[in-house]
Structure formats: structure tokens, C-alpha cells
Amino acid sequence: MRDPANKNGGWPLFEVFIRSKQGLSHVHAGSLHAADAKMAIENARDVYTRRNEGTSIWVVPSEAISASAPEDKGELFDPADSKIYRHPTFYTVPDDVECL
């Protein structure tokens, strides 16, 4: 996903995910360099949550993330295009029948 040799003074790169409030999932906020995961969380607090943006932080070493390749987009996602019967709007039902 990223240059694996991308270090900052020997510190590896971590991806940061923030949960903004209980009930919502963690969302990718950005990345930062840290010597280890503990420092990455401490630094993420200062970099990404200075204004109450978070209630919980995840950090993941960037090199641990596997990503789908852009050239596989068609193969992975196009098959869903033709399956319109997976959406409720595909079905015709009478207007006056409730709770459908």
C-alpha cells in the first residue's frame, strides 16, 4: 500500500483510525510515525484529536494492511451491478398495501 521503507528517523509508519463517539465505527484519519504502537496512540491523540474528535483510537502498522489493487476493481465489484434484485426498489407491489 505504501513504501515499506518509509521511515522517519527509524520510526515506522502507522495508520490511525478514530472512533468519534460511542456507537460509530472507527474511521481512518491519517497516518504518523512512531517508535511503537504505544507511542503511536499517544501521538495520534495529539495529532488527530485536539478538539474532542475521538473517544477511541486504533493504530495499525501501515505495512500490515493488505489492500485490493485498483486494477481488480472491475473483477471485484462489477458483478454486483447486474444484481439489481438485491435492492427493494426492484419489486413491484401495490401502492395501497402497507408495511412493505
Binding site: 513504501d3 521503507a5 522517519n8 510515525h33 517508535a35 507511542m39 495529532v47 489493487a69
Partner: protein, 320 residues
């Protein structure tokens, strides 16, 4: 989205069409080398500006006139560090390492905004920077929130949200001084006199001397020309100066009834280029501080790595 298939001309054509249709480019997508290089240069230069930009204001943290002003200034300088880090993070997605960016800054190969090579001589300069420099930065940065490169656009959205506090605290500080004693008002006017022209120059060379603009506009990296953004800043700031009861240091400044815009006198581009080339009043000091801080911090970075390795080894021994 464009991926590697077909000839490079085909890919380039599909890329141009994709971007022209206001679609975003993400890190793994195919992109022309020129697009990547332009972004690396612009984003890293922007990040370096945030980092070097901590120095002129940091100069006043220990001498802020009240605890309230000190807390505000500390928070602002901390934000600048944060903005630098969001931007480094965005630039790193272009497969350009942070170590290399730091090295380029310290060797002088990479530039940063020339405005930070001016000294902060009085407390009023802290207000003038927030009001004028951050004000100009906002005008520059709001269109960048719609930049075609996803990670840069996302970083800029965060930056812009936070930047508005910077401009407002600066204006409030200037207001307190300009409506204070005669001495305080004179100090505010002196700061405006020194910061006005460098702030106007922040938008870069005039359109007829900005060779990469057309390509950057086509790539949707840039949305408005330097002169258009500059005009927007001038119109907005002249009115703010009136509210502060301060005078813009330009005898040629006049309102054009027909266009509805304020027109300014000649900009000293010789001074601008001299400062860009490293001959600003505080250029050497800014670079020396950066290099010294980097060298002085080396043992901390090394110790942190050694500690992390020791902790990992310890955890492994326990597991065995």
C-alpha cells in the same frame, strides 16, 4: 479511475478525462509522473511551511501578555505542528519518504512559504500573523479542499476547519491593540505596515509569470489563479482594516467603482524572489533552528527505537 493497461498515452488520456469530470485520484491509482511530482513538491512545501511557521510565533510564547493569550498561542502553534503532520502524511501516500522530505528541507532543496522568513519584532506581530498570514492561507487553502488528489483534499478539510480560529484570534488581538492606548495602536499599525506586503505576496507570482498554473488548473490541483486569490484577500482585508481603524500601507490603494474591487499599488517582486532564494531577514535563523532541533533530537529518536526493540524482545522472552 485509471489503472495500468494500454499504452501510456491511453492512460494519460483516461486520467485527464477522469480528473476533468471532477473525480478524485487515490494513492494506488495510475497517475502521470508530472502530477505526482507536482503534488509531492506542493504538499511537502506546504507541510514545511507549517513546521517552519511555528518559529515566528513560538518566539512569543514565553512573553505573551496574559495567561489567556499564552494558552491561545500555544494551541495555535500546536495546530501548526498538527497541520504539518497531516500534510506530511498526505505526501507520503505518493511514495515519497518522510526521511527524504526532511532531508530536502534541511538541505535547502525544498522550499517553504517565504513569509516565515520575516521576524516577529513585537507582540502585535502575533496578531498580524493570525489576521493576515492565516487569513491569506485560508483564501489559498479553501479551494484546495476540492483538489483532485484525495489525501491532500482530506488533509486540507481538517486544516481549514482549524485555521478559522487562527485568523479570528489574530483579528481579536489586533482589535484589542488598535482600540487600546495610543502606543498599542501604533504597535498594531507598525505590525500591519511590515506584514501587509509579504502577506499579499503569499499568493505567489502574478499570473503572467506563473508557468505551471495552466497544467495545475487542468489537473484540478489549483482552482483559481494567483491573482484572483490575491484580489479576494485584498477585498476582504481592506474592509477588516477599516473595522480595526488601521491603515493599509499603500498610498495607491483605491476602490474601483466599476469592478467593485480594491486596487493596490505595485508589488515588489524583487524582494519576493530574494526571500524565496533564501535572503529573507530571518531565513538563516529559521533554517539553523530547524537543523539544530533535528540534530538535538537525534538521541531521542534513537532511544525511542532502542526502547521499542527492548520492549518487543522482553515480550518475546515472556512468551517463550
Amino acid at each position: 479511475m485509471v489503472h495500468e493497461a494500454g499504452s501510456s498515452d491511453d492512460m494519460r488520456e483516461r486520467f485527464d478525462a477522469w480528473v476533468a469530470a471532477e473525480n478524485k485520484i487515490e494513492p494506488q491509482d495510475w497517475m502521470p509522473e508530472g502530477y505526482r511530482k507536482t503534488l509531492v513538491r506542493q504538499i511537502s512545501q506546504h507541510a514545511h511551511s507549517e513546521i517552519i511557521g511555528m518559529q515566528p510565533e513560538g518566539n512569543w510564547i514565553t512573553r505573551a501578555p496574559s495567561l489567556r493569550r499564552k494558552a491561545i498561542l500555544l494551541a495555535k502553534v500546536q495546530d501548526e505542528a498538527g497541520h504539518g503532520l497531516y500534510l506530511y502524511s498526505a505526501a507520503e501516500t505518493l511514495n515519497f519518504s518522510r526521511d527524504q522530505m526532511e532531508a530536502d528541507l534541511m538541505s535547502g532543496k525544498a522550499k517553504y512559504s517565504s513569509i516565515f522568513n520575516y521576524p516577529t519584532l513585537t507582540w502585535a506581530d502575533v496578531g498580524a500573523i493570525g489576521w493576515l498570514v492565516d487569513g491569506a492561507a485560508i483564501v489559498n487553502q479553501i479551494p484546495l479542499c476540492r483538489c483532485s488528489y484525495g489525501p491532500y483534499a482530506r488533509a486540507m478539510i481538517r486544516v481549514c476547519k482549524e485555521e478559522s480560529f487562527h485568523q479570528r484570534q489574530g483579528f481579536e488581538l489586533m482589535m484589542a491593540l488598535s482600540h487600546g492606548t495610543a502606543e498599542q495602536k501604533a504597535m498594531a499599525q507598525d505590525a500591519l505596515n511590515r506584514w501587509w506586503w509579504p502577506a499579499v505576496q503569499m499568493f505567489g507570482p502574478p499570473d503572467n509569470d506563473s508557468p505551471h498554473s495552466a497544467q495545475n488548473m487542468a489537473w484540478k490541483i489549483k482552482r483559481f489563479s494567483n491573482d484572483d486569490l490575491r484580489q479576494k484577500f485584498i477585498d476582504m482585508t481592506v474592509k477588516q482594516a477599516q473595522a480595526l481603524e488601521l491603515e493599509i500601507p499603500d498610498p495607491d490603494l483605491k476602490y474601483n467603482e466599476e469592478t467593485g474591487h480594491w486596487e493596490i499599488g505595485e508589488i515588489d517582486w524583487d524582494e519576493f524572489w530574494a526571500v524565496v532564494k533564501g535572503h529573507g531577514p530571518a531565513s538563516r535563523q529559521r533554517m539553523a533552528n530547524k537543523r539544530n532541533a533535528h540534530a538535538d533530537g537525534a538521541w531521542v529518536r534513537e532511544a525511542a527505537v532502542a526502547f521499542a526493540e527492548k520492549e518487543r524482545a522482553g515480550a518475546q522472552n515472556v512468551a517463550e
